[in-house]
Assembly symmetry: C2
Homo-oligomer: 150 residues x 2
């Protein structure tokens, strides 16, 4: 019985995360107070500039009340800001601050340092493959997500 391509992709994608995430999160946790969800929001804001609460919720597939909590905390820490949309005052737009940007960079470097040690067992060619493949997976998922939001 041959596994379908979709099943293989599903298993691959579901397996990637737990193999690395926890070990990369630990050094981050030791040095910053930011949560995994908060970090992901910061990355989204850095890339997109400004996002509404609802868009962030869709982006993370998280219930709105949780987004409120996450943003409240990021604001406390000075990483993001709330802006009421002038065109539709129901909408709350979130932007990343200077501090958010610099601290995000710092966190990324901490994580990269940690990853670097692990990647030592790969040669240059394998590293290049991992770079290309991970970029490809990420891009495809972002593409899929962008199509969903219509």
């Amino acid at each position: 019985m041959l596994k379908s391509k979709i099943e293989t992709i599903a298993e691959n994608l579901m397996t990637i995360h737990p193999l690395l995430f926890r070990s990369l999160s630990k050094p981050m946790k030791a040095r910053t107070s930011i949560t995994p969800a908060g970090l992901f929001v910061l990355r989204g804001l850095k890339k997109n500039g400004i996002l509404s609460m609802s868009l962030i919720g869709k982006y993370l597939s998280m219930p709105k009340p949780h987004i409120t909590v996450i943003i409240d905390r990021l604001i406390e820490e000075g990483y993001v800001e709330r802006h009421h949309d002038p065109d539709d005052r129901r909408i709350v737009n979130i932007s990343i601050t200077e501090k958010g940007l610099t601290d995000l960079d710092e966190i990324n470097q901490i994580i990269a340092e940690e990853l670097k040690v692990k990647l030592l067992v790969l040669d240059a060619d394998e590293l290049e493959q991992l770079s290309v493949s991970s970029q490809n997976v990420k891009d495809k998922l972002l593409y899929i997500l962008s199509k969903e939001k219509v």
Copy 2:
């Protein structure tokens, strides 16, 4: 300022998860009582046959007490079994049951069904790329992990 290759890989790997995991987990949660960590353990057991508690802990980068809780619950549900190692009676080996295997297949199909809908926006060529890339990333991470355990 050019981002290093390692930083790019780190960001890619950290971003992949939240883009999909929650939306794939929801249908699973609706139909089974298994937790994400439990599911990951089942996958590891299916692939490796038998794993000790410590190895599972390393595999998931989780503290041992949590592994005990996860295994207790999988045993309650009839998915895995404990075996004391005859050569070293301190060691507890875990094996997956028939029920564990069949239910794991079922869960994988539920997740694949969910993913299938999302992947409709990709053409055959892109799908193939995603398949190859995700496999590559997973294999490389497993390879790195296997080197760590020495």
